[in-house]
Symmetry: C2
């Protein structure tokens, strides 16, 4: 893995005097900002999001769109689709909003026997904490990581690699599968989204299955729960899920038409370089590094 | 600085089989969870927050309490106090809420000449991006960092150190001083709080002056602005600031009575060790690392 590289001490001392030396090696030859690189990207730099991998979560306040990650969690992606297809989530609720941590939804019945019955989907699954790294297109980041030997992007998702394995990482907006104390206790019937600083200590402790690609602000503005772990204390506080659907099952005109920047292209590498070495006039120190969860993963409306 | 240490590959591969080897060296001898360490802490492990360093931001929805960091930004702390004391912020507004980034408040007048006049405080200040590291009690973290040679805690704040300098870091909840393109353009009349994944690329690019110690959820649930950079597009969307006061200026019974866990004690080091090596039954992998902004900085109500 690449060694961590830091702002040289001489530069740190001289920072207020306008030191122009950067931390992460020489400035990239491409002088564009990340916004300019995106604006000048080619159609082939983007991928259309597959409606079979998109979930649409409808709340009274609007919709949240999530992309599943079957490359990392194929069984969980399949089971979440199966749950959506039996309309398992319709009328269930967001029951937990813990500040700087997660929004979580599912069946609020404390007694498991009183929870909605799962008809077609599986009621538990072996965990998919990691997969083999072989055969996975992985674009590494150069700045190192506190939690993993190597981090980068794969298939449009933030990920880590090491020991022959690869796994998704708990960045802002990631979708995870709640579980109890046993590894096999998750099914997808209880899901969460990260709404705070990346809780990377959850990586490989719990299965990640995708990420929010549109509308996360419908989740992040929800009132924080005042019970333990951010659970709502009263049923009247629960936020009702109108429906959760696989986009492919929606009438074509209701399907989100979204494109995501591919993470396996030269354009993406230039975009990351521009996020490491900031060209915007506001930056007095161009920084020279970027941490995995600070790399934006652009999504845009597809031309119809 | 300490080398980054990772979960050994053998353990990563064997993870699903219940591998007990940890990443960050041997497990600490103290077998308690971080919650148990806090519950069993001594009164001397806590410091009472000085009302001269506390700000109380009152909104219709309740109060947010912030602690200033004069050890790092003495001139900005003094100027923010001076602004609060001339009631500069009373009746001004929260004008920007950008998802996964910042909440910002100040005078919304686009024409600078139409903004509220600053009477006693300074209208601009030289930046306080960093200070000398000498004489600063600094408790380093062992797991390395992507952005700085060394990170840890000083005086109750997350911080970094390198090249003879020390500086505050942009973790969740940190309070910063908005500025324009020039380094000297900030005064404290425009303030922001981090409400998303730590934007560490702002470190040493902008002055940090403190952090939220209570009530951050009053800020994080605010509707996201739909204009560029998360600014509210209409004046009717602005969230009015009822008042912003130095706690010392409030009647004694209205002052927040808060204590923060000291960061220069053995208890804090044990607390950090317990966050690195997770003892809670839920964790299948005890992790073995902690990133700076994932270390909670506990605050509690003081006994009266």
């Amino acid at each position: 893995m690449p060694a961590l590289q830091y702002l040289p001490a001489a530069c740190a001392v001289a920072l207020l005097a306008g030191c122009a030396v950067t931390g992460g090696g020489p400035a990239p030859a491409d002088k564009r900002t990340s916004a300019e690189i995106l604006a000048q990207s080619a159609p082939a730099d983007w991928r259309a999001l597959d409606p079979e991998n998109l979930l649409v979560l409808r709340l009274a306040s609007g919709s949240v769109v999530l992309e599943l990650a079957p490359e990392f969690a194929p069984r969980h992606a399949a089971n979440i689709r199966a749950l959506a297809r039996e309309k398992y989530f319709d009328g269930l609720v967001i029951l937990r909003v813990q500040d700087n941590y997660v929004v979580q939804w599912g069946d609020p019945a404390e007694d498991e026997r009183k929870r909605r019955r799962i008809r077609n989907a599986l009621i538990s699954l072996p965990p998919e904490f990691a997969r083999g790294a072989d055969g996975l297109a992985f674009t590494p980041l150069p700045d190192g990581d506190v939690y993993a030997p190597e981090v980068g992007h794969a298939g449009g998702f933030p990920a880590a690699r090491g020991g022959g394995q690869a796994w998704l990482t708990h960045c802002y907006g990631m979708l995870g599968v709640g579980r109890g104390d046993s590894a096999e206790s998750g099914s997808g019937a209880e899901l969460y989204v990260v709404i705070g600083h990346a809780p990377r200590h959850l990586d490989r402790n719990i299965t990640l299955a995708g990420r929010v690609v549109q509308g996360i602000e419908k989740l992040t503005v929800l009132p924080r729960g005042t019970g333990a772990l951010g659970f709502y204390e009263k049923a009247s506080q629960h936020v009702r899920i109108q429906s959760l659907r696989v986009a492919a099952d929606l009438p074509p005109r209701e399907r989100p038409q979204l494109e995501a920047l591919r993470t396996d292209t030269e354009t993406f590498q230039r975009f990351v370089a521009a996020r490491r070495h900031r060209r915007e006039a506001w930056f007095l120190d161009p920084v020279g590094h970027v941490e995995l969860c600070n790399v934006p993963l652009p999504v845009r409306q597809a031309a119809r």
